[in-house]
Assembly symmetry: D2
Homo-oligomer: 346 residues x 4
């Protein structure tokens, strides 16, 4: 039984970690960390867990936690983990970080986009970017996994095969992403009130969103060169889900069958990535509550572009689900353990 | 391994049966019946099941199905099962009916409220009303289970302890119920279009809804006499969930502690019924995707009434989940097998 | 041209006042008060008013305001107006208060339910309860109007004719009300975040909501005696709208036609109250953005009860619209001036 | 008083025409055409109009209508008007067509994308594309106005100034558009049921949507050459609103101030087009119920692209509102007559 500790257990991603782990047969939660709710019953913060979880929330003490847990999930604000992580902790427990602290290898890029000084840059080289389908082998032996962002996971998996195979020009990639509101967190902000979000849609962070360099870095690895892309997130009046619509110029002509075979080459054996049938567009609802990513594409001969689409549940494959998938890989378990639930509809 | 056949697998309740059974370790689906989609891949009707289910939909043939399945779920329109059920079928397979055909014991009441002639009234006495927490023992040996309606399950479990213990006058019960839109089914009707339901709430079927006699019959059993209640359903702009707010006059003074102890007496050992803490009002979101029913109450000394509240997921405990719970009881399995997932939030 | 000042112009009711008054041909806004946004352009707080309103928000100074305005609307927290109102102000400007400060005539009742000491009880007798359809004549000459609460307006207009005519027993009235989330205000609270409200419904303030005594007092006037009722509000995932479903025992038998004629007697000449056709249930969407109240009823012979229903837009007839209707009456204008827009659908 | 006839008065656009015209002081509706509801009270189809409109729906008879009306609005399926329009009708009444029949000047393009043979191509040259801000002068004297599509109006107004001034390369334009569900119409389709749309987002008509050539033709006029663009619409779980996010490569460097001055040059005097302040992203909610289009842009030096954004209410400026604006121009009225209502929030 893997002993799991969570720091930041009362955010939406933290609660989803708890939900998923309650159904995981080889893991048990030993520490529900939440600085804001110390000593309060977890189920009073999340009533869905009433009579399911009896524990109270605990203060953040990563050192004590490292003694009690085999793996620590940190679902914490940017900079938090970087400020407290030590070799000693990593020697005692594996760490899966759901924040962005160790996702970007290029330190100046990180510090520029996030506007903070990194507290422990020495661990950046060691950290493995936990996009399971891409870095599975590296994750296996990692002590520190940087769990990918929700937008980057969806964006990258949607375009990856065509970048890797040189079908599209990576510098022409434009990613127009749409997210449910859980991505904005549980903090009490006027902008996220029901009446402000409901019946509306808007772009935000245009040309400045911090997931941009994360996506660029990963696409750059696939392309074998530095790339620059456009990324625009939008807020959608729904709880869960991210939809990515990505555009790129094709470097050469390629028809549906060829492109389909490329997607299949990369994803046919991936349980969690589903390449949909021709002309079926991904919908966030079809993956809700699950760890699946649905992808598809459309070749547009008129414009010489290919439109790539991807959908996932931002709280699952975009956060807690992928974190558990990484844990499974790190501990030699079947990747889908605890994650095999079918999407819920409607 | 229990072999399961489903007739009506492409309605919302049918799809939820499929979702739940995919996570049930002792059951396998052998027949996905759907008259409307014969020979079409099930996953083309419900893309959430893409790459999870490869089977195609089959025509309705309950006799052939009875040869292949240990248990048949019928999630079909009123009157359908009553028109085709035979002793021969029941001798070969157990039947759990999600329609109302066998829920009401009093035939004239059924025929009056439903406006149809019952096709096989001879089976009504044998049918067990599958409200698991109440009729568990009878379900065990049943061949034919009438799975309760969504509103009746939520309504009855909310008021049951106080009726049973004689705390409230059953003839003063007023049930004001609110349901998500999945209860209206997947049929293409203008009234259920997004733009008609969204940003609105309305009552419907006022004083005429067909779940009324079903609720009255069950309350009558608890009260030990025939009762008449008021029941008003409302349509709410959300996918899932039923909330019941029930009012009744108290027959004698009783404070919070006494009433609480009565609820606890009936539900403390019930895994799926959660009596919430004082002053915590049930919310449908806290049970979404799960088989839980959350109940609570408020004593109003000013009016001499008690207000009873209950929340469940109409597609799970209100339909498919309770059906699987009944199956588990009928086949001697742990009641929560396949149903232990925690509610999903947000 | 009536000069209008608003204190509390940046709440949802305040913004709706502004929207309505922009379309009012005999009124102009001279003061947009908002303590939280002093000196900020109003249109930066409410972008819907971009290029429509150029003014900035001003601090609260009711004395200076009284010099500049013919009428002052206060859309402020409970107790605020009571704490600053003086004879001097009332001698210089009329006041329409959207808070509850002067709604309840019985001081101990007010202080008990609101938990505060009233700051200027001396004005309570003078204040006119501005339910226009009932108190039109008194409003005409009022200096101080207590604009009714959203729930009380909808509740009272739904039951009024049958109480007044002695058809129902007022002490058996049970009001189950459902409100959109704008009623909860624009304050940044976790409970009102999109993800907390969306896809859920709950009761709140059960047996303790402060609109209860306000409703009781008004029903009491109609009944000619003190009455006690049950009132339960619910939060619905939609922006606007209140639906009331009210239940009461009939004191004598009465059929559809008689009850209909009673409703018509009271409302046939009321522009803003629409008695719907037989069996058409009020829906909040059908009155959205308008000052209409849709009401209807169902006689239930089985139970001897009548179910009364009402729907309105809580921000319009439930707040700002009725406030403007009161202003129109006070200044001798047609009651529907600025309020004649048809409801918006969908 | 302008006499107005509407064919197709019971679709969502038709109902919005009715709502807007009820508040128009120089127009009266003389004919509510709806083939599906002949002889039924209009207010039984749209209860928001209860006691506001007493008329019944009439069958479609454009010839009789031309005798009774000064202007005919056709909110009808593609091909309908083209199949019945004659010189005789146009000689008797002006026609504003909300369908696409006369929007595209190039006949083969129209017939290819719409898959139908045009019934009266002879009128195409005469028809004026009613994008008021661009073709105001031509609309003045038009007999036949092709009211623009919802997506084209929002798309074109968002990119127009920068195309016209040669700042961006029109062949690099990628338009990612998001629409509320009212755009899908009131027809009873499973895909548009509440439970199918709610809590989900998807692209549709990828690389094949019929508004593409309409947008391309208009951008082509501005660019002075034939252009090819990418256009992808998405379905969003909200009733009203279209948001456009458009991307294009800049032909030369230009900073915020220069681009802002270009937008201002074209829109400063346009009442209905609001260029927002720096870094304020358009939101559909801020224009709901109004005829406004909010636009803004972001220069992205990193990629050499400019991101252009626009938001409108698809039922108003995207359909009925613009139609009335065209009517106002054709009849010499102030353009904003009947259209000056401020957006409704929340």
């Amino acid at each position: 039984m893997i002993k799991v500790g969570i720091i930041g257990a009362t955010g939406y991603a933290g609660n989803e970690l708890v939900r998923i782990l309650m159904g995981h047969k080889d893991a048990e939660i030993v520490w529900l960390g939440s600085r804001s709710y110390v000593d309060k019953p977890y189920s009073s913060v999340y009533q869905n867990m009433f009579r399911i979880i009896d524990d109270v929330c605990r203060d953040d003490n990563i050192s004590e936690l490292a003694d009690n847990a085999d793996v620590i999930f940190t679902a914490t604000p940017q900079g938090y983990l970087a400020g407290i992580l030590t070799e000693d902790i990593l020697s005692r427990a594996k760490v899966i970080d759901l924040s962005a602290d160790y996702r970007i290898k290029d330190l100046p890029t990180y510090e520029k986009w996030y506007g903070i000084t990194h507290g422990s840059p020495g661990f950046i080289p060691e950290a493995v970017y936990g996009l399971c389908e891409i870095n599975r082998d590296k994750v296996k032996n990692a002590r520190l996994v940087a769990n990918p962002g929700c937008y980057p996971t969806c964006s990258f998996l949607s375009v990856y095969p065509l970048v890797k195979e040189g079908i599209i020009d990576p510098d022409t990639i434009i990613i127009d992403a749409k997210s449910g509101t859980s991505g904005a967190g549980r903090g009490a902000k006027t902008d996220n009130l029901f009446c402000e979000v409901n019946e509306s849609i808007k772009a935000y962070g245009v040309a400045t969103h911090r997931h941009t360099p994360e996506i660029e870095e990963q696409i750059g690895y696939a392309a074998g060169k530095k790339v620059t892309i456009s990324f625009t997130p939008h807020l959608v009046p729904m709880n869960r889900g991210i939809l990515v619509t990505a555009y790129a110029n094709m470097l050469r002509k390629a028809g549906y069958d060829e492109i389909k075979s490329i997607y299949d080459k990369y994803y046919d054996n991936e349980f969690f990535v589903r390449v949909l049938d021709m002309d079926v567009c991904p919908q966030t609802k079809w993956v809700e509550g699950s760890n699946f990513v649905d992808v598809n594409f459309k070749v547009d001969e008129r414009t010489g572009r290919v439109i790539m689409m991807g959908a996932l549940d931002n709280v699952v494959k975009g956060a807690a689900g992928q974190a558990v998938q990484n844990m499974n890989i790190m501990f030699g378990l079947p990747e889908s353990e605890g994650l095999s639930a079918a999407p819920m509809f409607p």
